[in-house]
């Protein structure tokens, strides 16, 4: 398998940004439920 040298910095950075975004969205939704702005979600 041939390929160019890869620093992996791009993937690593993308992964970390996704981590923080998941924390913000997840905890944001928990906060909205806690203050009763979101009461019921259909599933």
């Amino acid at each position: 398998m041939k390929g160019r040298g890869y620093s992996a910095a791009h993937s690593q950075q993308g992964n970390m940004n996704e981590d923080w975004l998941a924390v913000i969205v997840g905890l944001g939704l928990v906060a909205l439920v806690a203050v009763r702005l979101v009461a019921q979600v259909p599933w």
Partner: protein, 339 residues
């Protein structure tokens, strides 16, 4: 912009369809779910993958195929459904299990792939992904050994192609073996490589197994930073003999998966009484399920079938044997630590 909206719309549409199919199939079988929602979601993702690949638009529509984002958000939300004391109880055992199983499987894969004559960087990526946590570990290992992009793409595809059958088989096998939810969850969490498939397999078994499997897997995820640091250290000191490029200990924090902190904070919020049980049941659990359904859809959409044509049979044989060893070791460790 339009393509991003279309891509996101496709993920949401397939997740909605998976939810609908789960409900409809319940009607066909008189209340019992024919197939659990993770199976519908992955299957629809694979069907969508095939359809957009045949139409030649898969590359253009891939912007919202973000398995890791949907999964990690779902896991943060899952934190609010588990008491912090349960996380600490399961997590402590999960860490012991992770250290034992990860170390044994990593070195087994490392030496086996050397015996098969694989490229050293590919060996590092495969050993990390099969022993720790799939694609995330492969990305961290790729950074540690400066692997080729093609290696990472190939290992990511390998992880998913092995995780999917395990996700479907292992929960039913655990039920057939009469394992308790704790042991089944610990076995699933300690064996299946990629976190999304761990959560999916746990959900197929039971809600209790899903929580144990997720906490055990998150314990493994928390080790990524340490594993990547020691791998990078070994690489520059032993393989490349360039001690001036020694990694800094702060890399451990840089590579630490931050969603673990969100998971713990969400659990703390619920444990401290900021969420009533009804709020968890009526809002947090459905929100968690929607994010996880999107993650399962994305597993199917992201699978790159073409990667398997690029290398020979040896990496597949190594991955298969390593997965078998991982399965047996994880079962033994789960039984000893969780029964």
């Amino acid at each position: 912009m339009v393509l991003n909206v279309l891509s996101f719309g496709l993920v949401i549409l397939l997740a909605l369809l998976a939810n609908r199919m789960t409900g409809l199939s319940r009607g066909w079988t008189g209340g019992r779910e024919l197939l659990e929602y993770p199976i519908w979601a992955v299957s629809l993702g694979l069907a969508g993958n095939l359809a957009i690949s045949l139409a030649g638009v898969r590359g253009k529509l891939s912007a919202a195929f973000r398995t890791e984002f949907f999964l990690k958000t779902g896991l943060v939300l899952m934190g609010a459904t588990i008491n912090l004391s349960d996380i600490l109880r399961i997590g402590a055992r999960g860490l012991v299990q992770a250290v034992v199983v990860v170390t044994a499987v990593f070195f087994f894969t490392w030496y086996l792939s050397g015996w098969f004559g694989l490229d050293a960087k590919l060996r590092a990526l495969m050993s990390a992904s099969v022993s720790i946590c799939g694609v995330s570990a492969a990305i961290a290992a790729a950074g540690a050994v400066l692997a080729k992009k093609e290696h990472l793409a190939y290992v990511a595809a390998l992880v998913i192609i092995f995780a999917l059958p395990l996700m479907l088989i292992q929960p039913y096998l655990a039920q057939a073996m009469g394992l308790s939810a704790d042991v089944a969850g610990a076995w699933i969490g300690g064996n299946i490589d990629t976190t999304a498939a761990v959560v999916g397999a746990g959900a197929i078994h039971s809600e209790a197994a899903m929580k144990v499997a997720s906490v055990v897997k998150i314990s493994q995820n928390a080790l990524i930073g340490f594993a990547a640091f020691f791998l990078a250290l070994y690489w520059v000191m032993v393989v490349e003999r360039k001690p001036e490029q020694k990694p800094h200990p702060r890399d451990i924090w840089v590579r630490f998966p931050k969603f673990v902190l969100g998971f713990l904070v969400a659990s703390l919020v619920a444990t401290a009484g900021f969420l009533e049980p009804d709020q968890v049941k009526q809002a947090i659990v459905p929100l968690r399920n929607w994010f996880l359904a999107c993650a399962f859809v994305c597993i199917g959409l992201e699978l790159a079938f073409g990667e398997f044509t690029k290398v020979g049979w040896q990496p597949i044989a190594v991955y298969f044997l390593a997965t078998m060893v991982n399965t047996l070791l994880a079962l033994g460790a789960a039984y000893v630590l969780f029964s």
